[in-house]
Subunit: 150 residues, 2 copies
């Protein structure tokens, strides 16, 4: 099934995609799903006692806003954006490439998981590690985003 | 990528799957993602002015608990379950079949969307319509769940 009619009206510019509120709402669930599963896989693989961990995780605005900065994609967000706006922009971008069939949910999970490490059990480390993983995901899909800025 | 090792430790019984808290957390994001996109598609298709609607939707406990009752699957939930528990059970069941590769996110979206109607714009109707759509989804995947109850 193809849903790309859902983004037909969007101007093909970085700013239009990165500031779309509807895309951000859809992307919010994509981010939380993919990170939850990636984190569950990572924690399970690294358990010395082979205990299986299933966890759900609301990805913090801090993680996503840092990811956008690390990927040098702040220009996709609105001017004078705060952390919340920057996080929304990451969510909107990921929804855009998913709806556009450039990447699947499972591919995102696999990619994120490959960039996590057992140190995510420590809260402070997790923010840094997860932000890096999302920044790399943004770099991966950058080729599928419009070249035009505004 | 296969994640079914994430459910290897679960006893293959209806109650064990339906009451697993980790599965419910992962399922929460699956439910919200699939319904958000299904609702966006439905609203966009039924707009007389061809406006495109992208929306995110946190699916209410009411919708999910009603769905479990309509599908006659209350026995998957814990004893003396309240609406919150029943909703968690729906989320856990959907996470289970998704992790087990019995159904994809896109297949869930297509199925839900085919059972929505333009009347979801009315809040009261939406609860009824969405509960029916999720009940039908539960009936669809029932064959992939364990036969053993406890």
């Amino acid at each position: 099934m193809v849903y790309d009619f859902l983004i037909e009206d969007l101007p093909r510019t970085q700013k239009a995609i990165g500031t779309d509120k509807g895309l951000a709402k859809i992307g919010d669930t994509i981010v939380n799903l993919t990170y939850s599963v990636a984190k569950s896989i990572c924690l399970t693989k690294n358990q010395f006692n082979h205990r299986i961990i299933r966890t759900g995780q609301k990805v913090s605005k801090k993680i996503l806003s840092e990811a956008l900065k690390k990927a040098e994609m702040k220009n996709y967000a609105r001017n004078r954006a705060d952390a919340h706006d920057l996080a929304d922009t990451v969510e909107a971008i990921l929804a855009y490439v998913w709806i556009n069939n450039n990447i699947t949910i499972k591919e995102m999970i696999k990619f994120l998981e490959s960039h996590l490490s057992e140190n995510i059990v420590h809260r402070v480390d997790e923010i840094e590690i997860a932000a890096n993983a999302f920044a790399k995901l943004l770099n991966l899909i950058k080729k599928d985003l419009p070249k035009e800025k505004i």
